[in-house]
Every structure is written in C-alpha cells, then in structure tokens.
Symmetry: C2
Amino acid sequence: MIGHSFDPGSLTLVGAGPGDPELITLKGIRALESADAVLYDALTNPVLLDHAPASADRLFVGKLKGRPSMPQEEINELIAAQAEGGRHVVRLKGGDPFVFGRGMEELLFAHSRGIRTAVIPGVSASVAAPGTACIPVTHRGVSDSFWVLTGNTADGHISADLDAAIRTNATVVILMGLAAADRIGRRYTEAGKADLPAAIIFEATMPGETVLTGPVGQLGNLAAGAHLSGPATIIIGNVVKLRAMNERTSSTLIHHESRI
Amino acid sequence: MIGHSFDPGSLTLVGAGPGDPELITLKGIRALESADAVLYDALTNPVLLDHAPASADRLFVGKLKGRPSMPQEEINELIAAQAEGGRHVVRLKGGDPFVFGRGMEELLFAHSRGIRTAVIPGVSASVAAPGTACIPVTHRGVSDSFWVLTGNTADGHISADLDAAIRTNATVVILMGLAAADRIGRRYTEAGKADLPAAIIFEATMPGETVLTGPVGQLGNLAAGAHLSGPATIIIGNVVKLRAMNERTSSTLIHHESRI
C-alpha cells in the first residue's frame, strides 16, 4: 500500500464527510489509523472512530443534550496538550474542516504553539447533500455557479450576503439554516422570487435521509411541517427541479447504495 | 467489512477527488472494486483505476493532446451500451460529479434509457485546493460564505454572476479560470478591488502542487508568469491572507502528508 508518515506531536485536521461513514477519504482513514488521540464532536459519525487503534484516546468535544459544547479555547488547549505530549492528534470535523468548521482557528492555534499540522480535506455536505438527493449544484443551462452560506454565523445570523445571493442566478446552498428557514423564505419573497424551487435535506447521505421540496416562499412552512431537527442543508435554485425530472422518469430507477 | 450491492446493468457516478489518489472516498473505492467497466478522463488520476478488477474494461473518454475530447453524446451512448449489456459501469469524474462535471447530463440520459443509477459524491477541488494550501474558504471574522464559479462555461465564458460576486464579501473560487485570469483581474480592478488577495493553485493536492499569491489586480501577470498549465484553482478574498499568517509563524511547521 501507500506509505505514510504522520508525526508524533502533530495535529491532523481530517474532514469526516457528510454523514455516511464510507464518505470519508482513504487518506482520512490512514490518519485515523495512526492516531494516538481523536477529538470528535456531534457532527462526525462515531462509527469512524473504529478506524483508530484500540489504544487511541477518543475525546468528545461536542455539544451534549442540555449541556453547552466545549468552548473553542478549551478544544484548542486540549489539542495542544495532547500534541505537546508527543502524540499524533487527529481532529475529526464534519464535512470539510474549512467549511464553517472553525478548522483554521485550530490550525492557527497549533501553529502558534509550534505544533506541526496537516490538513486532509473532506466531502462537504454543501455539495454532497444535494448531490446524493439528485440535485446537482451546477448544470449546463440551469446554473453555472453555486454559493454556500451559513444560517448561523458567529453572531447567530444568516451570512450577510444572502440578499446579494438572492439577486443572482447562482444555486444557493445554506448550511445550518433550519432555524432561519422562515426568514430566508421571506427574504426571497420580498425580492419577488417566492416561486423559486427549494429543498431541505435532513440526515443527508444517512439511512434516515429525508428530502422535502417546495417553493422557497414556503420554506418556513416546509421546515416547520417536517417535525425534524438536526443539521439540515437548504438548497435554492432551478437545479432543484432536476430531481423531480428524475423521479418522473421512474422513481424505481433511482437508488442509492446500501448503507451500514 | 461493509456489505454493498452494486447492480449489474447500472451506472455509478463516482467523484474521484481533486488529484491525490487517496482523496477518493471509501465508497468510491468499493464502487470501483465491483466495476465491469470504468469510464475516465484526463481530470481523474489514472492510479485510481488500480482499484478496479483486472478484468474490468478501462475506457478513456477524455481529451488527448491534439485531439478533441469525445462528445458528451458519445460518452452517454457508451455508458448506455455498457450498462444495457448487463455490466456495472463506473463513471469516474474529477472532484465531485456535480461541480461543473456534467454528471447530471449522464445521469438523466441513463434514466431516459431505464438504467439504474447511483451517485457517490467526491472531494471537490473548489474547497480542497485552497484547503490543502492552508487557505480556508470560510473563517470567522473574515468570510462567512464562499461562491464557486467557472472560468469556462458551456459557451466558453466566465460565469455570468462574476460581477455580482465581486461586489460581495464572499470568498470567490473559480475553477477552470486560468485562461480568464487577466479578464478576472481587470474586472476586480474596475470594481475598485484590485488589492484583494488572490491565489492560483496548480496541481492541487499533488506532488507538483504550486501556489502563487498576489493582489487580484495582478492575476493575469501572476498566471502568465507561472509558465504553468493544466487545471488550476483561483481563490480570491481576504482568507488568502491566512496562508501567509501560517507561513510567518514558521514555514517549517507546515507540512502535508507524504504522497505516492
């Protein structure tokens, strides 16, 4: 197989992918296999920890029901303490480490402490959630660009540029936007684009995957009516219609591979 | 290991990742392992074909020097002919199948012929090329959205929404934009943003990876001075500065894993 050298006393940021534990990369698995400590949170599939040696510490740093998540400063210090003890620290991040993952903050902190670092990118839900739901983020004649925003910025808002995004023909993808669905729908409506097709994808790439579609003007109702929670991906634009095209061809022709 | 069922007489679109052959997903490898025929092009690393059984046909459908690439219609017919012969056809696409990959065209064509399909997303260069170069597409306080465009649309232009993108604070990522670098730089300059930092990444995630940075107003000169060709990723926005921050910390602290 291919040779690898992960240094002791180093940090490797690993993109864990969008949910399906087979959507991690081969390189990410190799990093886990050589980990002395793995830091993970609620956005990463715990099945992935099985790739780490039995002797590796598995450290949960995410949010538990009814308890706040560990502050970023504490996570940074934990990474440093482990790496400075000569261990190879793998920080598993949902999706890709640099798509709203605060990965760069951890990397910069490690650098400031003289710790060697590496980054292994991952499959981002921004592309994979719509993709596995048969909604391409780009398609000739329909959309030649896509714009990824968050519904939950550092100060809890939708990305500042949403209104600019609404005025373009770009496919708009919003991560962590479920709580903001009603506000998003109203802003499209105010811009005269209430009829643009939209989808909300829950548990993307997982056995419980649920895809709801409707006009973006009804996004709030769509989200509320779903009675679902957890991370969701919102996608807005005419590419959403392509999913329906496939379904009309024959719903039985579309399948996704069996999962665990 | 994990059980899979890839149907004979079906098409699986597989995202091959951005270049490094270890940046394919485990699920993508499983698909290749059960392939009867693999269709690939110049944007996928040929090393990945080693995952397919020795008995599988390896069909090149890309552009060869001095010869035009196979028309999309011919690729579609080849997929259909193989799948209708009862074979499991894997179509390897560089990056993710739905990021400027024409993947949906192949999927819709297969559906129209009654062929079962599956999609396995991949690591897109739009996020991974900057990421492995220590440029995060998002970072708190710097950028809370990113916009992915192409420098080479169906009719050979830059995505129509580039001017709108320039007026926002979104990180802008342009794929296949090398030939348009000078035009891109001039449009930023005309918008009064000539000083915004930009990077061009050649051979992202591969041993020959080269990263050039400079003000976007000089993007044309940067591209011309590189004397490099091939697929390149352009990234524009203040997140590009974070790479330099890392380098200043200590250039020897940044390393990427050894590659093949």
